[in-house]
C-alpha cells in the first residue's frame, strides 16, 4: 500500500488557500473593518485591524485545514484496532515552528508599538502625560464622567460645560477624561476613541476628526445600574459651525458656568456612600 505524500499535499492545499484567502481578506474585509474612517485615529485602527487580520488568516487556515485533513485521512478504519506510528517528535519541525512563531509574534509587537506611538496613542487613553504629543495647535476638551452621563467642558471657551459633545473637523482635539465618582470609560466608537474615566485622574487621548458626521458615545466600563443608558450622540461639524455652536452654549449656560468650580484637570470626587 503506497501512502500519498501527506505533508506535501497538505502544504499545497494550505498554500493555495492562503494565497487566495489573504488578498481577499485584505481587499474585501479590510476597508470595512471597524471603527471606520471618521478620524485620523480611527483610520489608523482600520489599517491595524487589517494587518492583524492578514497575519491571522494564514494561521487560521493552517490549523483548520490541518484539522480537517487529519480528521479525513488519519482515521481508525471501522471496527479495527490499529496502532499509529510511534513518532515522538521531530526536532526540525519543532525548531522551525518556534522560530516562525517567535518572528510572527515579535513583528506583531514591533508593529503595534510603532503604530501606537506614531498615532499619538491611537485614540486610546494615554494617561496624564502621554509619551507622544501631536504638534500644532490642539483644542482641549474635558470629558467628565459621572453616574450616569458624560458632560464636556471647553476650557478655552470660558470653561463652559455642555451636555453634548461637538467637535470641529480637521482640528486636533486633546480629550481630558476624568470622573466624579466611579470608573467610567468614554467610548466614541466612530472616532476610534476610548479612554477610562477614573476619579482624580486626567486621562488624555488625542483625536483628529477628518469627516463631518455624527458619532455614538457610550460608557464601556460597568458603572452601576444605568451603565447601559450612558448613551449619547455627538457630532463633528465645520469650524464655522463649531464657533457658532460654542458661543450659543456659552450664552445659554452662562449662569451655570458661574456656579461651576474653576476648570481643573481633575475634581475632588463626590463622596461615595461609605468612604470618601
Amino acid at each position: 500500500m503506497t501512502e500519498p505524500n501527506h505533508a506535501r499535499r497538505f502544504a499545497v492545499v494550505w498554500l493555495l488557500a492562503t494565497v487566495i484567502a489573504t488578498p481577499l481578506v485584505i481587499l474585501l474585509l479590510g476597508p470595512n473593518m471597524p471603527p471606520g474612517k471618521a478620524t485620523q485615529q480611527a483610520t489608523g485602527q482600520v489599517t491595524d485591524n487589517t494587518v492583524l487580520l492578514a497575519m491571522a488568516t494564514p494561521v487560521l487556515l493552517l490549523v483548520v485545514i490541518y484539522l480537517i485533513y487529519t480528521v479525513i485521512y488519519f482515521r481508525q478504519p471501522q471496527g479495527a484496532v490499529l496502532e499509529g506510528p510511534a513518532i515522538r517528535g521531530d526536532a526540525r519541525v519543532q525548531t522551525t515552528w518556534i522560530i516562525v512563531t517567535s518572528l510572527l509574534v515579535l513583528s506583531l509587537a514591533v508593529y503595534g508599538t510603532t503604530r501606537l506611538l506614531s498615532d499619538n496613542g491611537a485614540g486610546s487613553g494615554s494617561g496624564p502625560s502621554p509619551l507622544t504629543v501631536p504638534k500644532g495647535p490642539k483644542l482641549p476638551v474635558q470629558v467628565i464622567g459621572q453616574q450616569w452621563a458624560f458632560t464636556y467642558r471647553y476650557p478655552t471657551y470660558g470653561g463652559v460645560e455642555t451636555p453634548h459633545l461637538v467637535l470641529p473637523v480637521n482640528q486636533m482635539v486633546e480629550l481630558h477624561v476624568t470622573s466624579l465618582d466611579v470608573i467610567h470609560s468614554f467610548w466614541a466608537r466612530q472616532l476610534g476613541v476610548k479612554a477610562d474615566a477614573n476619579p482624580q485622574v486626567d486621562n488624555i487621548a488625542f483625536v483628529e476628526p477628518t469627516r463631518v458626521q455624527t458619532f455614538e458615545v457610550r460608557c464601556s466600563e460597568l458603572c452601576g445600574i444605568w451603565h447601559g443608558e450612558m448613551f449619547d450622540h455627538g457630532s463633528v461639524v465645520t469650524q464655522a459651525e463649531f464657533e457658532t455652536w460654542i458661543h450659543q452654549q456659552q450664552v445659554a449656560f452662562a449662569p451655570a458656568t458661574k456656579t461651576l468650580p474653576p476648570y481643573s484637570t481633575t475634581y475632588l470626587p463626590k463622596p461615595t456612600r461609605r468612604g470618601g
Partner: protein, 633 residues
Amino acid sequence: MTTTTAAVSTPQPAGRPLWRRLIGFNLLAAVALGVGGYYLGWFIGHQIKAPSLIYREKTSENDVALLLAYFFGVIGFLIGLGFANYPVSRLFGRPASLREKEDEGIGRYFGLCTDHKVVGIQYLVGIGVFFFIGGLNAMLIRTELLHPTPTVVGPNQYISLVGMHGTMMMGMMTSGILGPFANYFVPIMIGARRMAFPRIEALTFWLLMAAGFILTSTIFFGGFPTGWTGYEPLNDQAVMGMDSYIIFFALVGLSMCLLGLNMLATIMTMRAPGLTWSRLPIFVWSVLATSVLMVLAAPMLVATLLMAALDRTINTSFFIAGGGGSSYLFENLFWFFGHPEVYILALPGFGIVLELLPVFTRKPLWGYRLAISGMLGVSLLSFFVWQHHLFVSGINADLRPFYMLSTEIISIPTGFIFLCAMGTLWKARSSFSVPMLFCVAWVFNFLIGGLSGVFVSDAPSDTSTHGSFFTMAHFHYTIMGGLIFTFFAAIYYWVPKMTGLRFNERLAKWHFWLMFIAFNSTFMPLFAIGMMGQPRRVSEYASNLQALNIWVSISAFVLGFSMLIFLYNTVYSLIFVRLRAEQNPWRSKSIEWQIPHPVPVNNFEQIPVFDSDPYDYGVPLRVAGAQPASAGT
C-alpha cells in the same frame, strides 16, 4: 520514595445506632452550626458602634454584621463537618478521631472524607451544581438581551445576573478540572495512595461549597453591581450584596491556594519509584503548572478583597480617590491575580487534550518536552501581562509597549501546545469517541480564542475592542471553548473509571454536536456585535443590533438545551439504567485504567514501579522506503 508504607485503614465502630450517627459531625451538624455562626456574627455586628460606622444610620445597611455573619457561619460550618476534631484532640493529647477515614458507605460522600477519590467525586457533583446555576444566569442574561431596552428583569437584576454569572463561573470553575480530576487521578497517576495533605484536600472542597452558597445568597442582599471584576469605587458604593462577592472570592482564593499547595507537595514528593520527571503524564505536568499559579496568584486576591472589605466597613480608603487612595490600585491588584487566573482556567485544559489525544490517536504524545516547556512558559509569563487589561485606563501608558510584547510573547508557549496536539494527530489512527470529539473541538475553539486575542493584545486595535462584546466573545472562546470543552472531555473519559458506569454514547454525541455548533453560533456573532458598538454588561443596546442579538440568544438557548441533554444522560445512564463500563473502554495505557475497579481504598496493593511514560502507543516506524518519521506539518 516514602509512599511504600501502606496507609492503615481504620476499622469502623460497627453497629452504631442511627441517632448516634446523626448527632456526630456531619453535614447536618455543619448546616446547624453554620446557621448558628451566621446569626452570632450578625448579632455581634449589630453591637459594634464606632464613629466611622455612622453611615449605617443613614442607610439601614450593616456590612460589618454581614461580613462577620459570613465569617462565623463558615467557621461553624467547618467545625460542624469535623475539621476541628483532629487539631482539638491533638491539643488535649487525646488520640485523634479518625471518623473521616471511614472507608465505605454512601455517607462519606456527604461529609468530611479524606479519601482523594471521594473528594474528587464530591468536587465533580458540587461544582456541577454551581456550573448549572451559573449557566442559568447566562440564560436569563440572554433572555433580557432579546430586546434592546430593559424588559424582562430590569437593569438592577440584570447587572446582578451578569455579576453572578461571571463570578460563579470564574470562581467555581477555577477548580473545574483540578478539583474533580486532579484530586482523583493525580495520586493514582503518580502511584501514590493519597494526597500529601488529605485533610486540606477535603477542606478545599468544603470551602468552595460554602463559597458557592454565599455567592448565591447575594440575591437576598440586593445583588452586586460590579461584575466579576469588582472594580472600586463602584464596589464601595454597592449595597450589602457586595459583601457576598467579597467573602465568596476570598474563600475561593483560599481554597485555590490550598489546592495548589497540596498538588505541588503531592507531585513533588510522592511519585512512585521510577516515575521520573520525564515520565510524568502530561496531565500531571499541567496540574503542576496550574498549581504554581494558584499558590502565587490567589493570595493576592484574598489580600485585595480584605482591603476592599476594610474600605466598605471601617472607612479605610485604599481605593477611594478622595481619601488618598486610588481606583487604579484595585485594578492593578485585581488583574495581578486576574490574569494568572485565566491561565489557571486554561492550563488544565491543555493537559486534558494532550493526555487524551494519544489514547484516541493510538500514537505517543508528540513533543512531550515541548509541551512541558509550553505549559511552564505560559505559567511563568502569565505574571507579566496583567496591565493589558488596562490599556485604555491611562495607567502607566508608557509601559503599554512592554505589556503588548509580553502578552504577544505568551502566544509562543501556547503555540507549543498547538504544535504538540497537531503533531499527535499526524498519521494517527484516530477514532472519534466523544472525549476525542471534545478534544478536537478544543483545538478549533482555542485557536479562535487565541487569534481574537491578537486583536485585544494590540494596544491600537484594543482601543475599539476593549470592554466590548468582542472581548467578551474572545474570553468565552478561551474559557468556555478551552476549559468547559475539556471539562466535558474529561467527564466522558474518566467518569467510567470513577463510577464504573458509562454514558449513553448516542446522547453524548448529540450533546457534543449540539454544544459545539451552538457554542460557535452563540459567540462568533458576538465578535461582530462588539465591533459594531455594544459594550459589555449593558441591558440597553442600539436597536440596529437587535437581529444579531436575537440570533445569539436563540443559539445560547440551544447551548443551554445541550447541557440539559448532558444532564438527562447523566441521570438516565448513571442512575436509572446504570450502564456498566468496561474495565478499560478506551484501551488506554495510563496506569489509572490498569488498576482494578472499583479503585481500592488504598489505590494499589503494592506501590507500582514505573519504567516508561504512559504514551507507549504505536508501532515503531522503520519500514524501508517509507516517509521520514514525521514530515513537516
